[in-house]
């Protein structure tokens, strides 16, 4: 029997192994023969004789093959692994196709670090004072954050404009929609004279501007945000401190 014939007989019952597994079995046996023959060749054995002798010592190839096949009966793990590879591929394709959706994730992060201050910036003329704030409240699963208040003039009236943003408590989480429609800004007399404008809005974050008229002496305005089963009211101090307006 030649080495080729021997290995073929070992491989014959291994049809159920993956190509990779078969290759590993073959390689290991060949390495064994190599190691075993080398000292014999060094001692002056004729190659064919040495090979024959080594193959003899290996045992019955058909039996080795059968025993080997018995060790690889578990198909379950094989299929589980394949299913996992398919799932990974599908998910990666979805991620590639949905690369534009990354903007949601970006919004969710960006708004935490530096919320946009340019929303409706052109609406307020002759700005007297602007102050950055950090007033937060939890609304459901989300966080409402008031981050800037300015006082200036709009349509001939002294007006306070407040910027607020909302994002999920968890980074990359989805924020509840419609912050624009759910928010109102009242002055100290409970009047909501102006409406406002929506800034950016995505799955990741929402930013809006609201304004209302204020009079000299006013020290605060109130941001109201409706949510399911609750209404949040946040007092927003006007810039410059008490009595300066």
């Amino acid at each position: 029997m030649t080495r080729r014939e021997f290995l073929d007989q070992v491989l014959a019952p291994l049809g159920r192994l993956t190509a990779e597994e078969r290759e590993a079995v073959l390689r290991e046996l060949e390495e064994h023969l190599e190691d075993r023959m080398e000292p014999m060749l060094e001692r002056g054995w004729e190659a064919a004789r040495a090979e024959e002798r080594c193959l003899e010592a290996m045992g019955n190839p058909a039996e080795i093959g059968r025993e080997m096949a018995r060790q690889y009966r578990g198909k379950g793990w094989l299929w589980l692994g394949r299913a996992a590879v398919v799932l990974t591929a599908v998910v990666c394709i979805q991620a590639l196709l949905g690369i534009g959706l990354l903007s949601n994730a970006w919004d969710s992060l960006a708004v935490r670090i530096s919320p946009p201050t340019t929303i409706a910036a052109d609406k307020l003329k002759n700005v007297e004072a602007t102050e950055d704030l950090d007033i937060r409240a939890e609304v459901g699963n989300d966080v409402l954050r008031i981050y800037r208040v300015s006082v200036g003039e709009k349509e001939g009236r002294r007006t306070a404009m407040v910027l607020a943003c909302m994002y999920d408590r968890l980074p990359f989480g989805i924020v509840a929609g419609d912050l624009n429609a759910r928010s109102r800004l009242f002055n100290q007399r409970g009047e909501a004279t102006g409406n406002g404008s929506g800034g950016t809005g995505s799955y990741g974050a929402a930013c809006v501007a609201r304004w209302t008229s204020v009079e000299p002496g006013d020290t605060y305005v109130v941001w109201e945000c409706r949510a399911i089963g609750e209404t949040i009211r946040l007092e927003v101090p006007l810039p410059g401190g008490e009595g300066t307006l």
Partner: protein, 112 residues
């Protein structure tokens, strides 16, 4: 009988790997050396046993360059394998002890 032989090979393989990581041919040499050539097993039958142990998680395999300069597949005993070795060693010793006791019981009755 063949099944028995497989089980013995299993125990021997686990035991050999208890000392250090080895590749197949190295294990055959070491087995012959330690047993003073009493275990003259068919060399090829070691591999199905090793692959079985690997699938069961008793040993892990990795490829590494051997002292001969060639890359070989080394087997390493896992923690699970070490526990199995201890267990099989115990039951083997019980078995061997029992055989010993029986033989001692019939002392003096040497076959003629």
């Amino acid at each position: 009988m063949k099944k028995k032989a497989m089980e013995h090979t299993r125990l021997l393989a686990l035991s050999l790997l208890g000392g250090e990581d080895m590749y197949g041919y190295q294990m055959i040499i070491e087995l012959a050396r330690r047993s003073n050539h009493v275990f003259d097993m068919k060399e090829g039958t070691l591999y199905p046993v090793l692959h079985g142990l690997e699938q069961e998680g008793f040993v892990e395999a990795y490829r590494k360059e051997a002292p001969t300069g060639r890359e070989r597949k080394y087997y390493h005993l896992t923690r699970k394998g070490r526990e199995a070795l201890r267990e099989e060693e115990r039951s083997w010793k019980r078995y061997a002890g029992a055989v010993d006791a029986v033989l001692r019981g019939g002392a003096g009755v040497e076959p003629v």
